[in-house]
Subunit: 184 residues, 4 copies
Amino acid sequence: MNKKRRYQIGVMGSAADVKYSKKFEKIAEEVGQRLAENNCTVVYGAEKDYDSLSTAAARGAKKAGGVTVGVTYGKGKDIWDKEGNTDIIICSGLERGGGREFVLVNSCDAIIAISGGSGTMTEMLVAYQLNIPIVAIAGTGGWAEKMAGEYFDSRKRMKAVAAKTAKEAVEKVMSLVKEYETKR
Amino acid sequence: MNKKRRYQIGVMGSAADVKYSKKFEKIAEEVGQRLAENNCTVVYGAEKDYDSLSTAAARGAKKAGGVTVGVTYGKGKDIWDKEGNTDIIICSGLERGGGREFVLVNSCDAIIAISGGSGTMTEMLVAYQLNIPIVAIAGTGGWAEKMAGEYFDSRKRMKAVAAKTAKEAVEKVMSLVKEYETKR
Amino acid sequence: MNKKRRYQIGVMGSAADVKYSKKFEKIAEEVGQRLAENNCTVVYGAEKDYDSLSTAAARGAKKAGGVTVGVTYGKGKDIWDKEGNTDIIICSGLERGGGREFVLVNSCDAIIAISGGSGTMTEMLVAYQLNIPIVAIAGTGGWAEKMAGEYFDSRKRMKAVAAKTAKEAVEKVMSLVKEYETKR
Amino acid sequence: MNKKRRYQIGVMGSAADVKYSKKFEKIAEEVGQRLAENNCTVVYGAEKDYDSLSTAAARGAKKAGGVTVGVTYGKGKDIWDKEGNTDIIICSGLERGGGREFVLVNSCDAIIAISGGSGTMTEMLVAYQLNIPIVAIAGTGGWAEKMAGEYFDSRKRMKAVAAKTAKEAVEKVMSLVKEYETKR
């Protein structure tokens, strides 16, 4: 791996149509902020119609002066974030619901999952299939909660590493990316 | 919808590296055969390195004189099936592990899941996100078993309809595609 | 290559927003018809908003009792063809304008180009880059005319083989697919 | 458009297997450098096997302290650039030869083409189809030379704006992105 490139960490989580509490939004922002403080680039799924925990992580990263990349679907760069929390927009050209998510996760060195519905579970499964380390924050409900500490199938290739807090999630993801890098 | 086009039904299930019993392979073949008898096109995930329950369904469909479409990854049409059970090969140009699976499911009117690891669960989640009906065969283990009769997230958009046998799965998928067609 | 699979021949050409004469439409239909008579599957770019020379080829193929595959963009199978000239619809999940076209060409054993604007030239270039043989019908204007008998860059990997009529185009494409198959 | 986001300008040009002179490599580097000086993010096609004019532009941008994004094919982030000239790597999951190129161009606000074979022409055509402004440097040979000042088809939607030098190319691309932004 290119020694000078920052780690690219994806933050995955519920979209606003799933409804999530202010508390989980705070966790997502804290994850983004801590990743930025650890000199990581935050990669997130940029929506065009509403907010998400993934977008909240980008907001947190920018508060801490970090770098953010939003991966969106279809064409057109007019994403939901108008506040300028997205340094780079990638238009995957693929539809949302699995296609865009594939490009998003494929571009990450590791991912952190918070709560999450079908999209977040898809993202964890893609990461598993691509051998990209996963940290899932327990206590946030949804698929992240269900998968924390679990394997994704009987191949038992790797577990979603469980974390209890934003702090622990970022610490664990940092050690995972370093470990995986050495293996390569 | 084009009135003359046959329904395109995807059959999703474990790949051979997950290991599955002869019994589940028989179920997959029977699903393929029954879909062909119901005048459906069987859409399956064509691998380049090994067999799968999805491929077994294509075999079953051809035994019954059906039409099969294999959706593969990357480029190059040299797929694992050398017996001629694939009428049409689609090269998605996308990597396996979520990308190819997205094109595969997106091209189906409905899907049937049998047993299945991370790939099959990804395919069910894509179907859910794209509003494509899903039948999951209970008693086959894996993610199909876990999801049979369940919603995929708190949006509760639709359940994976549970079936106990190949026969029931095909009956249920036929009524689902007709119902969804009317709704459109 | 799978011995029993029919050759999958793509027919590429102008979309209706470019405007083309009835004469070129006839050529496209004849190409489709002759491919069907030669036992080929016709692969075409299925639009959702208007007709195209590619769609005309599918019409011709169906008149001759052939098999047709329409590769469309985005999601949703509601394509422009309502007459039932499409046996199988593939939803690439990718946007039109290069993405869908990539899946389309990647799924062909060879392509025939008729007239054509930017989309058709993109398709010829993709074929060239993927080492998929190309026949271009001279005398139909557009990029097919410009490229007939020409290389696509200084690599001189292969030429667009020139043909003057639908008949000659299909004869040449049949000998090209057989030649390429032997080389593999 | 997000007011704070830097313009994302793609630099497209021959890959090293086409062979290009030191002179053109210098032009590409100068384009990258000038884009960085104009506060643009340089988006380039990251190869895994060899150098390219696109990669040269990223080198130039980094010399001037700019930000660079490399869009690569398939999976795996082990790209040709080992010097650290790539701030962010996007893995498109799509094959090279049209697929990766689509994600690359779709993620640009405008592109500059230098010399170039089939890949560069594909990229200009994708830009044309997606309504993304194009500057082509005349005098560099290849498709950039052929298309400088020309329309891409009879739709005459837009021309590849001709430039004679790296300086002029960057000046023209800056005025084009501003003009297109206003139109939106």
